[in-house]
Symmetry: D2
Subunit: 400 residues, 4 copies
């Protein structure tokens, strides 16, 4: 891995502190969930909360403890099979769509697995070999990604229940200043994008490289529910010429007529959230929309989605609000490698590279993203029909 | 309903005792299962253990308490939707393939639901109206059916876990005397089949009626695992001319090469059971076979499956072993109504009648059938491709 | 095969005449069809007209000429693969759902294949070996069955075309005397059903055997379009309690709201027929209904479908109209072997036996059945969801 | 449309000549096909030859004759429905996967339709209005695209026939000079790509725009069958780490082990071509590979696919062979709009824009591309799993 550990740091001890904090946060997020809540898988793309807890643990066990802590033994050899996600180099694995069948190990046993690995990691972090440090950080970043997925997936799982149970009845939406959107100008010219700072980055954010941008304008805020309701009222979901051909086919086949998690109750729209079913607030950013919907909305609005390079170049402009912390923002860019991209060496080389097709890039970060995890060059990616992420959009247009 | 309550019985009090016993047995069967075990649904045809516990409770609430116990209120109005199985007359219901999504109510809350209904039923049974008595008995028979399904379904659910966890490590197979099969003679003539005795029967067992039988011979015991291994060794799963056309297509599409739950480990076959993974015992009756497999085996053996009328007429012959208590025995009869069949009046008329197509009849009773539940005229039924039941076979042949 | 050739017949010459007549009739039926019409396959259950012409020819080549005409060589070795339908014993075959991909051989080349085989058959029939005679008759009966399927399948194929082209614009419906249905009485007692006369029968009609019938009543005529419209107007397609559970699921999934080939044009219903799109005539028998629809209709009418034994026993009663020549009549009987059934020896043993599951019996014969082909013991069979046959229904009820 | 008609041209008469030539070429391509060959549709992505002939005719009728030739009437109003491909603005249309059901109109009637439209176009082209000229050229370019698809689709259709009939037994492969690949250097810097010359271009090739290229090297020739055989021999189809995750899933699900149309006969590989089944020639460029396969091959070879900008910039370098005329060359670029892209106004705005997602760009032109149709900025596009196109690959690598 290519990032540098800051010079002068006492990597072991501060890393041990960070390790403990990240791991504890995962457990805190899972705490409101019953053993049943943690067990089910509501669709093949989602994973059970318990599985997230175990898989992140398997990651440390497999890539840190086994190679770097002499004498370490897996707590349970079967877990290597059960909790490998997609690493071909790490051996065979349990079929993804069957993760919800794992009633055993129980949520409590997964807790024991976490404790077992945490104890060993404490040993390792007491005097960590230098070559292990980047992998520890990767493991923590990885766990933070799964923290977001845990929330994303549990929202979907709970939405399947006609009782519409809340993950946390006191869940609070991030504040979102309303007001008309203003458009910031991005200048024509050669821009540099990609990871540059000394800290951590995923391999897909590198190498930093030049790219040519034509002049453009980009909204200073996200599209709101109120604007989305206007799109709906104007027949947005019934007008094929607004849509990509594949998007229209999907919308028809799945009967889309509003964002995911929206339900009509009489005259009113409600939205299922981590806090339960709540009225749709027109002032808040829309979310849980697919790329297809976002792109159709932009066309309806006479605009377009920004490219990921435009987004990244504009994100540091004054006035650019909600870059992170609210929702992942669909871009017009397909997810492909940067020029000169090299996946990490070893098994973790499968981390990002093998998914670089048939997906669209999202930028920013959501209300479910762990504090401190988001970075401006961060490249998130999902297929264009995906709706269960905390996804939203920001509009752009050509300058000319 | 047409069965008669025995004259002179003190129906209320004895029924209350029986009610308590049946209900307690359900809870005892679920006791070894964790909340997660009780929650998952491993295929659309199976239901979660927790759902079985709740649905049987809903049955008493819906068909007994609401109509017959003045002032009774549902514990939770949503449960009417969640735990209705297939009664169109009882209103809309949760989609069957999504029963595994119900992490709430929890297993413990389902326990509270059961207690709530049991308390109300105790009130009702203290002085039950005469017209309610048959429905109480139906509710208990219904619950006994679900006791068997609970075991059947949990075996399937646990089989999905690569850890192959046992429902009960001490599970014991019923004894099964080995020895060569002998064939009992069933005489040509007019037979009467169907329910006749004064006790309970399902509507599909009535009316008792005449049917003509040609002379036949029927095995005194079930086909064994050892005989099934010979069928396999002789290419039974690779010889299309032994099979029904639709059965061969299914066997190919699903890659059948042994009964369900059999796994090859090196040279040996093992079988996943309620007691975990165990060696296949050649002396025991084969089980977890589809009708297609049973029928192909019979052809390979130069014999055939008995019709359900033959089975019922022969079941009282001396020497006819394992009529009940071991496995449900596929017959050559399609599941259709008896001549003069009338479904029960009211919503429970949907109990059996609307399933009388595309299914084959099984007779007898299995090791998972509750004690006392099986009766010789009992008509069980499943589609010919079903394998997850405790199903087995007995051979027959024409006399001529 | 078990039927007897009538004594004293000059089998060769009269058979040669009959052979020529049957073969010519197939060609006459195909004559109105263009090469394209003859080529396409509109669903996996249907076959192209050209394929019917070739497969019936393959049947004579495979089962008559190769074994019985010394020196006979196949016209084209590939045809053995292309035109085998489902005979495992006759070797591998072209996948059924891909029959419509055979643009070659052309319709004209299939004509040449027919001529080649006809010439060889003429040789064989000049002095036929006795053991071949039953197979010749089977081949002709087989071809007559395919004559009906040719019409059935081309109606479906042409219905896929928005132009709604007629097979024959001058097509005439069989006359059908209207008037209220009267119910004929079938007496309780032991009946004999199955093939008895000396002529040809398929193996599935044998052996003739005894069966016990309770007293019943059966309509003297078929259900009409007018009666079906009343069923529709009364919500028959929207009332789940009228339907088998599996039938209701199918009706919902496929959006059934009228018989197959019915189209609403404003206030009027039209029906696509071999003569093109025509108004639905209320006086004519309904057709192109599935067993599920027929069974739901009977329940709505307060009646039931007759069993096949009831139908056969009643078909000779005075007043029993439209036994054949109008539509195949769904019965309440699942298609299973008769007691003592033995499939024919050899490859033709696959003719009927391996389909005896998951299908319902139809009796009678349709307007598309070749003259002289229908016999009262004839057992036709299709899955309960099938609608593209010329299927109809006749009502029955219990006597009591 | 944005292209300019060359000044000083006599557009009407020369266009009439070109019109006649293009239209005649379509008929010449269809001439070897029987009516049946022209009718069938071998998969939803392919269209019948007859449909290609009719749809290209509908295009002229709909976009030229109806708006621009006073008094023109459609030959058949139904054709508007039958032969619209995907233009939402042009009204409803026949379902794409059912194009093979159109036995009527016949191939001959489609010929009459073509003649009818050609006669009217001759009238229009005698004195064409200026605003119609770009649409005439678009119609001709469109027809040329369908000429390639006609060959592409008929190859697939004929491949479904076990007889493996040749489209043209005398079909000749384009010559392909063998020898080791040499790598041409593409310099770092700002490049201009997209359509620039005065002639015709599709909207998706515009606007011409700047893009930054890092230095790279690109092969002077295409990958050969011999190289592909080495990939296969080295386990290319059995090594998941060479593949995109989605590609590996597709390869497993579909059982890929060689390019489409390759068949093993004993020790030898053969390839089904427009000339029939022929031995695989190691010296010829590989073809009928998906993007997934191309990308995996490149990884196996230690290289990568070029981006479309790299390809376009390099295509004019000395030594760059087989830019067109052999096979469409998969690039590493996802199909997205160029910066500043505007679809054409009106219904033809649906031509390209609505497909700009989930597809990969191919560059060049194939042996099936009409002479003169290919241009270096041409952007072809297909989903990454597509194999039935005349698709191939050229390797590239980073300069550094």
């Amino acid at each position: 891995m290519q990032w540098n550990v800051p010079a002068g740091a006492a990597p072991g001890s501060s890393l041990a502190v960070r390790y403990a904090a990240v791991r504890a946060r995962t457990e805190a997020l899972a705490a409101p969930l019953s053993p049943e809540d943690q067990c089910i898988q509501s669709m093949p793309d989602a994973s059970p909360a318990k599985w997230h807890r175990a898989h992140t643990t398997w990651f440390f066990e497999t890539f840190l403890l086994l190679p770097h802590l002499p004498g370490y033994r897996r707590l349970n050899e079967d877990y290597a099979f059960l909790f490998n996600s997609y690493y071909e180099a790490a051996g065979p694995r349990h079929a993804r769509p069957k993760r919800g069948m794992l009633t055993r190990p129980s949520a409590a046993e997964v807790g024991e697995y976490r404790a077992h690995v945490d104890a060993a990691m404490a040993q390792l972090l007491a005097d960590p070999p230098a070559e292990a440090l980047p992998l520890v950080e990767l493991g923590l970043q990885h766990e933070e990604q799964h923290q977001e997925l845990l929330l994303t997936d549990i929202l979907h799982a709970l939405s399947q229940n006609p009782l519409r149970p809340a993950y946390d009845p006191d869940w609070r939406e991030p504040a979102s200043p309303a007001g008309p959107a203003r458009y910031l100008v991005g200048a024509e010219g050669l821009a540099e994008i990609g990871h540059a700072s000394p800290g951590f980055a995923f391999d897909n954010e590198t190498p930093r490289h030049r790219t040519w941008l034509e002049g453009y304008r980009i909204a200073d805020r996200l599209v709101t529910n109120g604007e989305w309701l206007a799109f709906m009222a104007d027949g947005g979901y019934r007008t094929p010429t607004l849509w990509m051909s594949a998007g229209w086919a999907t919308a028809c086949a799945e009967g889309w007529e509003a964002p995911l998690y929206w339900e009509r109750r009489g005259e009113e729209w409600r939205q299922f959230t981590l806090g339960g079913l709540r009225p749709v607030d027109p002032a808040l950013p829309v979310r849980h929309i697919s790329w297809y919907e976002a792109e159709a909305f932009a066309r309806w609005a006479g605009r377009r989605l920004p490219t990921e390079a435009e987004w990244e170049a504009a994100a540091t402009l004054p006035g650019f609000a909600a870059a992170t912390g609210t929702g992942w923002q669909w871009t017009g860019s397909a997810y492909r490698p940067y020029p000169g991209f090299r996946p990490w060496a070893g098994a973790v080389g499968e981390y990002n590279g093998k998914f670089m097709v048939q997906q669209m890039v999202l930028r920013g970060g959501s209300l479910a993203t762990p504090p401190g995890h988001a970075r401006l060059p961060y490249r998130n990616f999902f297929p264009p029909e995906s709706r269960w992420q905390f996804s939203t959009l920001r509009l752009a247009e050509d300058l000319a």
